[in-house]
C-alpha cells in the first residue's frame, strides 16, 4: 500500500535531517583536541594544575620558576628520560614595516614567544642561521621574509624592543634565549619530557606521576591534546555548541515535518483505510501498516541522508574553520559511531513521526469506506487539546523562568525550551485556532474577494486540519526565526547599552592587530588603563579546587572617575596602593565585609602572595573579579597586556592601537563573539526555515493532488482558468498569513519575557530589537514556496479542458 509519491515529503525531510545529523556528529567526533605541533616530540608532558571548570577556558595555575626548576630536575632523573624542558610562553610580536602583520589578529601562536630549548619539544630545526644565545637575539618564522643578521622590532608587554634575527624556523612564533624567556615568563605551565630511545611513554608517565603528585597532570599520547591553546579549545567548544544545536534542531524539526506529512497522508487515505477495515483489516494491522511504511521511508531516507551527509562533511568542516567555529588545526576524521548512530536516526525519527498518524489511522471506522465526500468531521480530539494545553502551560512556565533567571546562559536555555514547548503546543492546537483565525480574517476577504473569497474561506474552514497542517510549519519557522534572532539582537543591544552606560570617558584606546597594549603605548596616552591578568585562589574547604579569577590592574583614582557604576560596600579604594593590596568583588570575597585575614593569591609567575583586602565592591562595579594596583600586576605578570585605556580627549593612538568613541567600543567589545553567535543564529534559522519551506511545499503539493476534482468542478461551474489560479494563490497566502501571525504572536510573547529578564539583569530598560529583514525573508520564503507549490500543479492541471477528466465517483 506504499506510495512513493505520497511519502516523498517525509523522505526528503528525513533524508535532510539525517544528512545534517550525520555531518554534525561526524564533525563533533572529529573535533578532538590536537597535540600542538610545538610539543609533538615530547612523548610525556607534565602540565601545571588545572583551574576552574572545563568550559571556563582559564589557563592552568603556573609553577613558579623555582618550583619548575626543581620539578624539571627531578623529572630529568627518571629512568628513560633524556631531558626535561620547562616550556615558557609569553607575548612577543614581530613588527613588519613598523606595524603588526595583518594576519596576526587571528592566530594566537603567531604572537607568542618561547625559550629556545622549547624548539626541541617540537623537533624544530633551524632552516638558516644560529640559535639565540644572548639577550637581543631572536629566531623568527621563515614566513616573515627576514634574513639572519637583520634587525627586527619585537612588540612585548613593555613596548617595542630592538632585536637581531639570528636564525629562521619553519614554525609560527618567536624563540629567544632561555634566560630572556625566564624573565618575560617566570611562571611555567608545562614541562616536556624527551625520552631516551626505546623508553615506554606510559611507564615514564606513571613514574612522573609519582614525582608531581597533585601538583600537575602527566599527559601522554592523545591526552596531550589538553595542551592546545586555550583559544582553540574555546573555539572548538563554541563549534560543538553550534553543531549540537543544529543536530538537535534538525532532529526535532524532522520529526515535525515527517509527522505532518504522515498525518496528511493518513487524512487523505481515510477512504482507502476505511475500505481495508471493512474488508477485514484489524486496527492493529492498520497501525502496523502505517508503522511499516514509516520505517521503510525512514530507513531509505536515512541511508540516502547518511551518504549525502558523510560526503558533505569535509566541505562543511572547511566552512566551519573559515567562519571561525573550529580552530585551524581541525581535520575531519571518519569514525564509526557517528555513522552508526546517524543510520539509526532515520527509522527512529520516522517511527516517532508516524506514531500519531498510525494511531489516528487505526481509529478510522470501516464505514468511512462508504462516505462519499471527504469532508472532515471532528476537527480536533480531546487528547490533542489536553496535550496542546499542557505544552502551552509548560512553555509559559519556562518563559517565566527566562524572565526571572539571573544567569544569562540559563535564561537562553530556558528561552529555547520555552519556545520549543510553545511552538509544539500551538502546532498541536492549530486546528482549533485556525477556525477562529479564518473567521477573524473573514471580513476583508469577503468584501474584496467575491466568489473566490467565499471559496477560500469555506475551504479553510471546512478542512481545518489541512489548513492547520499547512500553517503549522510556517508557524514553527516564523516563531523560531523571530524569537531566536530577536533574542540574540535584544541581548546584544542590552549588554552594549549597559557597557557604554557604565563608562565615563570621552574616547577609548583599544589594541589594533595585537592582543593588547604595551606599557609604553599606555604611557603615551596618559589615560586610565585596565591591565587584566588571571590570578588563582584555592577554594575554601571542603573543595580543594583552584579558582581562576580575573584581576584588573588599575590606578584607583582614575578608575573610580571613569566608572559610573562603582559601588564600594566596605573599605575604600583610596587604600589600593603599595605592593600587597587588593579590592574584591562581593562574590569573590570569602565573607561579607572586609576580611581581616590576608587573601593569598597565586600570580602568573607562580608566586603565592598574601594580599591585604582594602575594599569590597559590588559585582557589577567592575568587569572582573578583583582590583589590584597596576604595579602589582606588572610585578607578578611581566607579559600582561593592557586591554583598554580610557581617555578624556581625542589623542593620536600609539603603535598597535586605535582610538574609538565609547558607543563604538561598547558595540565591538564582544564583536568577535557576537559575530559567532549571530552566525550560528542565522545557521539555525536557515535550517528551520529550509525545513519549514519543505513542509509547506510538501503539504500543498499533496493537497493539490487531492483537490484536483474540486478544482475541475469549480472550472465546470464557470470559473476561468485565471480565477482558479487566483483561488489557489489566495488560499496559500491565507494559510501562510495565519501561520506567520500565530508564530509571530508566540515568539513575541517569548521575547517580552526575555526582555523582562534582561532588564532585571542589566538594571536598565531594554529595547526590544526585532530583526525585520530576517522575519521578512523567512515569511517571504514560505509565501513564495507555498504559492509555487500550489499554483504550479494547478496550472498543469488546468492545461487540460475541464470536461475531459471524470469528476464523478473515484474508485477505491
Amino acid at each position: 500500500m506504499l506510495s512513493v509519491r505520497r511519502s516523498a515529503g517525509a523522505f526528503v525531510a528525513v533524508a535532510i535531517g539525517v544528512a545534517l545529523v550525520t555531518a554534525a556528529t561526524l564533525l563533533l567526533a572529529s573535533g578532538r583536541p590536537q597535540v600542538p605541533d610545538r610539543l609533538a616530540r615530547a612523548a610525556v608532558v607534565v602540565q601545571s594544575p588545572e583551574a576552574g571548570r572545563a568550559d571556563s577556558f582559564a589557563p592552568t595555575r603556573p609553577w613558579s620558576a623555582a618550583r619548575a626548576t626543581e620539578l624539571a630536575g627531578r623529572l630529568a632523573g627518571l629512568p628513560g628520560v633524556a631531558a626535561a624542558i620547562p616550556d615558557r610562553t609569553f607575548y612577543a610580536q614581530p613588527l613588519v614595516d613598523g606595524r603588526p602583520p595583518a594576519s596576526d589578529g587571528q592566530r594566537e601562536d603567531a604572537h607568542q614567544g618561547h625559550g629556545w630549548s622549547s624548539a626541541r619539544l617540537g623537533g624544530l630545526r633551524l632552516t638558516a642561521g644560529e640559535p639565540p644565545r644572548r639577550p637581543g637575539e631572536v629566531v623568527v618564522d621563515r614566513a616573515l621574509g627576514l634574513r639572519p643578521g637583520t634587525p627586527v622590532t619585537l612588540l612585548t608587554a613593555a613596548g617595542p624592543e630592538p632585536y637581531t634575527v639570528t636564525g629562521l624556523l619553519d614554525a609560527p612564533g618567536v624563540h629567544v634565549a632561555d634566560d630572556v624567556a625566564a624573565t618575560l615568563a617566570p611562571g611555567v605551565r608545562a614541562i616536556g619530557l624527551m625520552l631516551a630511545a626505546g623508553a615506554d611513554p606510559e611507564r615514564v608517565g606513571a613514574e612522573a606521576r609519582g614525582v608531581v603528585g597533585g601538583d600537575g597532570r602527566v599527559l601522554t599520547g592523545d591526552r596531550r591534546g589538553a595542551l592546545e591553546p586555550r583559544g582553540d579549545a574555546r573555539t572548538r567548544w563554541i563549534g560543538m555548541q553550534v553543531l549540537t544545536a543544529t543536530a538537535a534542531l534538525a532532529g526535532f524539526v524532522t520529526v515535525f515535518v515527517a509527522a505532518s506529512t504522515f498525518a496528511f497522508t493518513v487524512a487523505q487515505r481515510r477512504r482507502e483505510l476505511g475500505l481495508l477495515r471493512a474488508v477485514g483489516a484489524t486496527p492493529r494491522q492498520i497501525r502496523r501498516m502505517v508503522h511499516r511504511e514509516a520505517l521503510t521511508v525512514g530507513g531509505a531516507a536515512g541511508l540516502a541522508g547518511l551518504l549525502v551527509g558523510a560526503a558533505l562533511t569535509p566541505a562543511l568542516g572547511r566552512v566551519l574553520v573559515d567562519v571561525g567555529l573550529e580552530p585551524a588545526t581541525f581535520r575531519v576524521r571518519y569514525v564509526l559511531w557517528p555513522l552508526a548512530a546517524s543510520l539509526a536516526v532515520g527509522p527512529v525519527v520516522a517511527l516517532l513521526a508516524g506514531w500519531s498518524a498510525a494511531r489516528r489511522a487505526a481509529r478510522i471506522p470501516p464505514l468511512e469506506a462508504l462516505r462519499e465526500a471527504a469532508v472532515e468531521q471532528r476537527p480536533i480530539g480531546r487528547l490533542r487539546v489536553a496535550a496542546g494545553a499542557l505544552l502551552l502551560a509548560t512553555g509559559a512556565a519556562l518563559s517565566l523562568g527566562t524572565a526571572t533567571s539571573d544567569d544569562a546562559r540559563d535564561g537562553a536555555t530556558y528561552a529555547l525550551y520555552a519556545v520549543m514547548a510553545l511552538v509544539t503546543g500551538s502546532t498541536v492546537l492549530a486546528p482549533a485556532i485556525v477556525g477562529p483565525a479564518v473567521r477573524l480574517l473573514r471580513s476583508p476577504v469577503r468584501r474584496r474577494g467575491g466568489a473566490i473569497g467565499l471559496l477560500v474561506r469555506a475551504g479553510a474552514l471546512t478542512a481545518t486540519r489541512r489548513t492547520a497542517s499547512t500553517a503549522a510549519p510556517v508557524l514553527l519557522t516564523v516563531a523560531f526565526a523571530v524569537l531566536v534572532s530577536g533574542m540574540v539582537l535584544t541581548t546584544t543591544a542590552a549588554y552594549t547599552a549597559g557597557r557604554a552606560d557604565n563608562v565615563n570617558a570621552g574616547w577609548i584606546i583599544a589594541p589594533d592587530r595585537a592582543p593588547g597594549l604595551s606599557d609604553r603605548a599606555v604611557a603615551a596616552t596618559g589615560g586610565t588603563a585596565l591591565l587584566p591578568t588571571t590570578v588563582f585562589v584555592t577554594e575554601p574547604e571542603p573543595s580543594t579546587g583552584i579558582r581562576p579569577l580575573n584581576a584588573l590592574g588599575v590606578d584607583p583614582a582614575g578608575f573610580a572617575e571613569a566608572n559610573r557604576v562603582l559601588d564600594v560596600v566596605a573599605g575604600s579604594l583610596d587604600d589600593l596602593r603599595g605592593d600587597d593590596t587588593v579590592a574584591l568583588t562581593a562574590s569573590a570575597a570569602p565573607a561579607p565585609g572586609l576580611p581581616p585575614e590576608p587573601y593569598p593569591v597565586v600570580f602568573a609567575d607562580g608566586e603565592r602572595v598574601p594580599l591585604r583586602v582594602v575594599a569590597v565592591v559590588t559585582d557589577i562595579s567592575v568587569p572582573g573579579d578583583l582590583l589590584l594596583p597596576r604595579a602589582v600586576v606588572r610585578a607578578y605578570d611581566p607579559s600582561a597586556l593592557t586591554s583598554t585605556v580610557y581617555v578624556r580627549d581625542r589623542v593620536d593612538p600609539p603603535l598597535g592601537a586605535r582610538i574609538i568613541d565609547v558607543p563604538a567600543w561598547a558595540a565591538e567589545a564582544d564583536r568577535a563573539e557576537d559575530r559567532l553567535v549571530w552566525l550560528c543564529t542565522l545557521l539555525l534559522i536557515g535550517v528551520s526555515a529550509g525545513y519549514g519551506a519543505i513542509a509547506v511545499a510538501n503539504t500543498l503539493l499533496l493537497a493539490a493532488a487531492g483537490r484536483a476534482a474540486d478544482l475541475r468542478l469549480i472550472r465546470l461551474a464557470g470559473a476561468t482558468r485565471r480565477q482558479v489560479l487566483w483561488l489557489v494563490t489566495a488560499e496559500s497566502a491565507l494559510v501562510v498569513l495565519i501561520g506567520a501571525v500565530l508564530g509571530g504572536a508566540v515568539a513575541f510573547a517569548g521575547l517580552l519575557s526575555i526582555r523582562a529578564g534582561l532588564a532585571e539583569q542589566v538594571g536598565a530598560t531594554v529595547d526590544l530589537v526585532v530583526p525585520w529583514p530576517v522575519i521578512g525573508a523567512v515569511v517571504g520564503l514560505c509565501l513564495l514556496l507555498a504559492v509555487l507549490a500550489s499554483v504550479l500543479p494547478t496550472w498543469r492541471l488546468l492545461r487540460h479542458r475541464p470536461a475531459r477528466s471524470a469528476v464523478g465517483i473515484v474508485a477505491g
Binding site: M1, V279, L370
Partner: protein, 261 residues
C-alpha cells in the same frame, strides 16, 4: 430445513445529538434464513443502509442485538468483530471500493491476506472464474468497466466463504445490462451454493431477484413480501405505501403472480 443465519432483535440506531437527533432504526426485529436472498427496500432515510451496516457489524446499534451464525456481535471487541467480519461476512459496496493500486486478483485475495493466510492461486482464479473474470486477474480497477469492478468486488466478498453476503446498492452505479449480470450472479450463489444474501436496493427490478422483500419506513419494518416477487408487484406495493403510509389496507398482492426470471 432452514435455520436463521442472521437474527436482528429490537435494533435501534440514533445519530447526532440535540435537535439534529435522527432515529435511523426504531426497533427492528427480523431474521435472514440460511440460503435465501433478501432485498431491503425503502425510501431515502428509511434506515435501510443503517440496518445493513448494523447487521454486517460495520456499525453498532444503540439498542438491540445482532446474531450471525450463532455469535452475538454485541459481545465482541473491535478486533474480534473485525475478525468475524473478515471470516464470516462478505460485503459488496455501491461504489465497488476496490483498492486502486492492486490488481483484480490481489483485491480478491486481500481479505485472506489480512487474515494472515495466503490463498492458493487456483482459489483466486476459481473465484474470479465464478464471476466470469478469469481473464482479467492482472488488470487494475482503472482498466475494468463498472460491472467488471463490481463482479471483482463480489468475488472478493466470497473468497472467505462467508456465511452471509451483504450488498449495499450493488447496482446503484451500473447500467442496466451490467446490473443484470451482477444480480444474476448473486441469485446464482443462492440457488447453486445455498449462499445467504442480503441486499439493500431502491430498484424494484433488482428486488425482483430476491426471495423476500422487506420494506422499511421511518426506521421501522413496514411491510414484507414473500413469493411471487416481480418488479411490478414491488413497485405497486411501494406506490401503495406512498399513498397509504399506515399500510392497513393491504391488497392481495399474492394474487398477481408472474414468474420471476
Amino acid at each position: 430445513m432452514t435455520t436463521d443465519t442472521v437474527t436482528l432483535t429490537g435494533l435501534r440506531a440514533v445519530y447526532g445529538t440535540g435537535t439534529r437527533r435522527v432515529t435511523a432504526l426504531d426497533g427492528v426485529t427480523t431474521s435472514f434464513a440460511s440460503g435465501t436472498f433478501t432485498a431491503v427496500m425503502g425510501p431515502s432515510g428509511s434506515g435501510k443502509s443503517t440496518l445493513l451496516h448494523c447487521a454486517a457489524g460495520l456499525d453498532r446499534p444503540a439498542e438491540g442485538t445482532v446474531t450471525i451464525d450463532g455469535t452475538s456481535l454485541n459481545d465482541l471487541g473491535e478486533d474480534a468483530l473485525t475478525r468475524l467480519r473478515r471470516d464470516r461476512i462478505g460485503f459488496v459496496f455501491q461504489a465497488f471500493n476496490l483498492v486502486s493500486t492492486l490488481t483484480a486478483a490481489q483485491n480478491v485475495e486481500l481479505p485472506l491476506r489480512l487474515a494472515g493466510r495466503r490463498p492458493p492461486a487456483r482459489d483466486v482464479e476459481a473465484a474470479l472464474d465464478a464471476v466470469g473474470l478469469a481473464d482479467r486477474a492482472r488488470h487494475r480497477p482503472s482498466e475494468l468497466s463498472g460491472g467488471e469492478q463490481q463482479r471483482v468486488a463480489v468475488a472478493r466478498a466470497l473468497i472467505t466463504r462467508p456465511v452471509v453476503v451483504f450488498a449495499d446498492e450493488p447496482t446503484g452505479a451500473l447500467d442496466s445490462a451490467a446490473s443484470r449480470q451482477v444480480l444474476r450472479l448473486l441469485r446464482g450463489l443462492v440457488d447453486d451454493h445455498g449462499q445467504t444474501v442480503v441486499m439493500v436496493t431502491h430498484d424494484p427490478a433488482a428486488a425482483a431477484y430476491a426471495d423476500r422483500v422487506l420494506l422499511l419506513a421511518d426506521g421501522r419494518l413496514a411491510d414484507e413480501l414473500t413469493g411471487g416477487i416481480t418488479a411490478a408487484v414491488v413497485a405497486a406495493r411501494i406506490a401503495e405505501r406512498d399513498t397509504d403510509p399506515t399500510g392497513i389496507s393491504r391488497p392481495a398482492a399474492d394474487a398477481a403472480v408472474e414468474p420471476s426470471c
